[in-house]
Subunit: 484 residues, 2 copies
């Protein structure tokens, strides 16, 4: 496509945003022969997840955990000279981050360029009305474009807090913390959701003195409560100064750093000083500059309104991913994009349902979830019961020196499992089984029948299912693992 | 039960062997009120798995991997002084092993003792004929016992090789390697099955110079070939001197160690010297001293003959676990024991099927399998196709610095997945999903529909299913992960 010709160009599909929502949609449609223009305003394909979110934070976490593992090595009979404590080489971590990001972005671009009907441009796209948009590329005048369908996948951005002093030097949005030029001596994080918890633990393991202010009564309010409270205790045991029910009010500069004033529900409060402050107060859909005002598209502060096929109020304009509000996860955006591409190609499309979603909080230990918590299940009108496995009795967890909990949420009558929640290092891989269970509505009996290998963390799934069935049958059950 | 009274005592169920087969059978039957006598000749409940096999080897592996991680830490920006290389504290590893084993054995005994109709004795049991046995306890005369049912769960022992010199000092059965008083300078392992491979890597990581002699043409002949060959390359790259097609012929003592002479298929051969030699030539059912000659029970060198309900040729005498021959896995024995207990209690019992089994070889990286390999599927008359995912493109694997392969084996027409094979550190946890898939005959479509979280190793399962479906539909597909 040549955007420099006089008459408006036309494409089958305009995709705005090259993250985990827009990119797979564009690839799937171009693979089927559709002429697709993908407009991405950033440096490459990958979006928030690759450049600012999940991937860089996991790279830092990997190094932080390896530093921590070196500290714990003596427990496993691996000895260091005490005077030669391992240290983090921050520049090397930053270089590793750059290398992995560049390789993944290049691979994504390479795949995209193999498709002759897909064009990718760096620039900005704005809707002008029904089936019309304007494309602005750097150093060129805006050009008109006609499209048969458009997919909005512009993502989200950090919420701007109503917090006096949030524009001071040393106050960072969470993603900026991953680009600091050194590990802070002290760091105050505002917000005890997934990002705040991940960052608090990473910087604590890297050696920062960390304070975490959480406005709600506990961390991770949307996650299973008992597992979240066990994780909360782990944060505190590791030396993080966690203050729950504490809402940040203002930030002022003080010598050597910043001072944050907060209040609590009782009208009391306090102050904390730190070298740096990180804000992790959630993310909001990036609705500005999309030209929505020229269309019938409706949205509120939480996201664009769409129908069951992800079509907005403007016919033939669809949206996926963070632009639709919660849940904001890369894999959720990808699942939507794949279903939408199939739908636009006239093929059977199973649009993903929130009750089948999964997620991992890369805390330490990992906290993974698939399906519904008890609260979510009850809100959906289900009568549920729970079963819990304590990894303290688990062979693999004992060998690895790990602890945690596994919880199943199941319908009382049908014994259909509607939620799987795991807090244990390795939960990110265990939860694939959970995602399969909740997607296909498998029962405790069906889980109990699978032969899980010993000694692994995954056998906890089968053991818990069998123990729970024995309990429901009124048999006394032994808490210990049946494989000694 | 008082074994010292004059008349023969009687029990509902005699269980011979307190490992992962006998123990859960005894617990389940006693929980239901049956009077059970469990006779174990060893120190406590747990069998080969706990005392000599899976658990101690995994404890050593954990320490070996942590030493290896310290060596690799610089790659992740975790710096050590080069002169202060970490070292293994062997006595601490041995102490950790003792602690974990003792805790697990005590927990198993504690559970068992909570059941009033279960008696556990340390001693020896031998069948005398139909419904009769003889129990020998240390320091007491043998006593008669009558039983309504018996469950034989005596396990297996290391195969005695036809190898001149295998009784020399410094030649060890594989399980004895875990009790050496120091890490050998050099170690020669005979046998490239699961135990030989695990031991070769553990001692290589711990600093031994390791040679591995494998009689067959590659390591792990029963596992997926491509994955086994990738692992074989990893062994060689790590410095293990692997010699395939090499059958050990004789061992002689030489100054400072032992010399092993081997031959190959071409009639050539060679010699290797090492400080210690470990034999990992498989395991054989422990059929001696069970009194089988007083019964109608039949067996060959591979194991006892049983029917579909695990009943031997002697009515009311059943057998589970390693005594039945391959597969010899703790979880397989437990699955058999649970089904058998249900069957004896008159409840519906789903006896486990080999095509639903799973297993993990704790190589580095872990090698896990559920269901059938291509060769096994073809031998069963299935028309299958395969799909392979290379973790080189995987975000989580890149972050963790790991590589490996995932392979799905599926029926060509139905797209039912009959085998899942993973070679990647973390495969032991991924394979729970595989076990569930093969147990319930899920299809590629059903796997593709599950929403796996990003960035995790488990999303490889969904990505591979979707890529394979696209390929089967004739669409060009991009090899890269759809979530950039």
């Amino acid at each position: 496509m040549n955007l420099s010709s006089q008459a408006d160009e036309s494409v089958d599909v305009l995709v705005i945003g090259g993250g985990p929502g827009g990119t797979p949609a564009a690839l799937a449609l171009a693979q089927a022969g559709r002429r697709v223009l993908l407009v991405e305003q950033g440096d490459g394909l990958g979006g928030t997840c690759l450049f600012e979110g999940c991937i860089p934070s996991k790279i830092f976490r990997e190094s932080a955990l390896r530093l921590h593992a070196a500290d714990r090595a003596g427990e496993f009979g691996v000895g260091f000279d005490a005077a030669m404590k391992p240290a983090i080489d921050w520049q090397r971590v930053l270089a590793r981050k750059r290398d992995i990001l560049a390789a993944r972005a290049a691979a994504a671009l390479h795949n995209a360029q193999a498709l002759p009907t897909l064009q990718i441009v760096r620039g900005h796209a704005r809707l002008l009305g029904a089936h019309r948009a304007e494309i602005s590329l750097p150093g060129a005048a805006p050009r008109g474009l006609r499209f048969a369908h458009a997919i909005l996948a512009a993502g989200a951005q950090a919420a701007q807090p109503a917090l006096v002093g949030s524009d001071l030097a040393g106050v960072h949005a969470s993603e900026q913390l991953l680009s600091l030029d050194r590990v802070p001596d002290s760091l105050l994080l505002v917000g005890g959701g997934p990002i705040g918890v991940e960052m608090a633990q990473i910087f604590c393991l890297l050696g920062s003195r960390v304070t975490l202010l959480q406005g709600r009564e506990r961390i991770l309010p949307s996650m299973d409560g008992d597992l979240a409270l066990q994780l909360q205790q782990r944060l505190q045991d590791s030396g993080i100064d966690l203050r729950c029910g504490a809402r940040a009010q203002s930030i002022v500069a003080v010598p050597g750093g910043l001072r944050v004033t907060y209040s609590d529900a009782q009208g009391n409060g306090g102050q904390v000083e730190a070298q740096h402050v990180g804000l992790a107060l959630g993310r909001v859909p990036r609705v500005a500059d999309l030209g929505l005002e020229h269309t019938r598209i409706r949205h509120d502060g939480k996201g664009l309104r769409v129908d069951a096929h992800l079509q907005t109020d403007e016919p033939d304009v669809y949206a996926v991913g963070d632009l639709l509000g919660q849940p904001m996860f890369a894999h959720w955006a990808t699942a939507q994009a794949q279903a939408l591409a199939a739908h636009l190609l006239g093929k059977p499309a199973a649009f993903p349902k929130p009750e089948h979603n999964s997620a991992v909080i890369f805390s330490h230990p990992e906290f993974a979830t698939a399906g519904l918590t008890v609260a979510q299940a009850q809100a959906a009108g289900l009568i549920v019961d729970t079963a819990t496995y304590d990894y303290a009795i688990d062979a693999r967890a004992q060998i690895g020196g790990e602890t945690g909990l596994l919880r199943l949420v199941f319908e009382r009558d049908s014994r259909r499992i509607v939620g799987v929640h795991a807090l244990i290092e390795g939960a990110s891989d265990l939860i694939g089984e959970g995602a399969l269970i909740v997607r296909h509505g498998l029962t405790l009996e069906q889980l109990a029948q699978a032969i899980h290998p010993h000694p692994t963390l995954t056998e906890s799934m089968g053991v818990l299912a069998r123990q729970t069935l024995a309990r429901l049958q009124g048999l006394a059950t032994h808490a210990h693992h049946p494989v000694p």
